[in-house]
């Protein structure tokens, strides 16, 4: 199925969890936050959270800023 991650279309396995997605992207160890269709997905729920086709996923982190 296709989901959109940080503005890019991405082909992923059906039923992929947030934890698996983060692992595939090699950002497991980082301090990140995730939002799906404008709703926050708490980090503690990544293992159970499964995506649906067309989900709009945003994964963010802290960068330098004033």
């Amino acid at each position: 199925m296709e989901i959109i991650v940080n503005g890019e279309q991405r082909e992923v396995n059906d039923g992929i969890t947030a934890a698996q997605l983060v692992e595939d992207m090699q950002i497991t160890a980082k301090r990140i936050a995730m939002e799906v269709n404008l709703e926050i997905v708490p980090r503690s729920t990544y293992a159970e959270y499964t995506f649906k086709p067309g989900d709009k996923v945003e994964i963010v982190h802290a960068v330098g800023g004033g």
């Binding site: 936050a33 939002e35 994964i59 960068v63 330098g64 004033g66």
Partner: protein, 264 residues
């Protein structure tokens, strides 16, 4: 000896800080420069921005929060780049998740790209939404007293008028306006943005504000670490001068040495 005036510490959202200088983490060459300049500034509250992560393209990219660890500093996520209340609120929700429930945020909603002036209408809306969601909001705004009072009434924990446009380094453009805000508000008032060099920071503090937040003045200096140290001293000096109370201005001279006892 006369007794020296004692300062009361800066308290924001119930937390006490010994430094009145708050710094941003943007525009540095690398994380090491960020770390060194932040340390030299003595700041305890450090702003960060929230942006999309690299998704696999640069797996080894260093993490900003390794240079400024949340265990050591109070991390203040900002809503920089937001032009609507909705985007600002969305950014704050992500920031709270990113920082494990830490709910202190710097709200800024911008009006246009050229001036980066605050859009106070959207800022008021966003502040209301954020306070309802239990965020502790330090808010970037104009030097307008009416808006500042309204932001305080909404429940913002600090009101932060600009000295001059973000990144302009022009120094305090409306000192009398800033003084109105300082005198009328009960929450801490900080200058956010527009300071260019140490004398600007000292001048700002002499107005009686509770602190200064800056980024470019340090990061865009030729030697950011040295400028960070200069700003630390300037903010302390300005605060002390404010507490000490400056001498009145006079148009003509007044000799410091006695006139009596001259032998010539």
């Amino acid at each position: 000896m006369t007794e020296t005036v004692k300062d009361s510490p800066l308290v924001i959202a119930g937390k006490t800080y010994s430094s009145r200088l708050l710094v941003g983490s943007g525009k540095y060459k690398d994380n090491e420069e960020t770390r060194l300049a932040t340390e030299a500034s003595g700041a305890e509250i450090i702003t960060v921005a929230v942006r999309r992560s690299n998704i696999g393209q640069k797996p080894g990219e260093p993490n900003l929060l390794d240079a400024i660890p949340p265990e050591k500093y109070t991390i203040l996520p900002n809503t920089a780049g937001c032009y609507t209340a909705d985007d600002a609120v969305r950014t704050c929700r992500l920031a709270r998740e990113l920082l494990d429930g830490h709910n202190l945020v710097k709200l800024e909603v911008l009006a246009d790209e050229k001036t980066l002036y605050p859009d106070v209408i959207q800022t008021l809306k966003a502040a209301e939404m954020l306070v309802k969601e239990d965020f502790e909001v330090m808010v970037y705004t104009t030097d307008d007293l009416t808006i500042a009072k309204e932001l305080e009434a909404i429940g913002c924990v600090a009101v932060m008028p600009l000295a001059a446009p973000i990144g302009s380094g022009l120094g305090v453009q409306n000192p009398y306006g800033i003084k109105f805000i300082v005198e009328e508000l009960k929450v801490p008032v900080l200058i956010d943005a527009g300071v260019g060099t140490a004398s600007d920071a000292a001048f700002a503090m002499e107005l009686g504000i509770d602190g200064v937040l800056m980024n470019s003045a340090i990061a865009a200096a030729k030697d950011p670490v040295l400028m960070a140290s200069a700003m630390k001293k300037a903010v302390e000096a300005g605060r002390e001068a404010y507490l000490a109370g400056r001498m009145p201005r006079k148009r003509y001279a007044s000799a410091s040495s006695p006139v009596d006892g001259t032998f010539f």
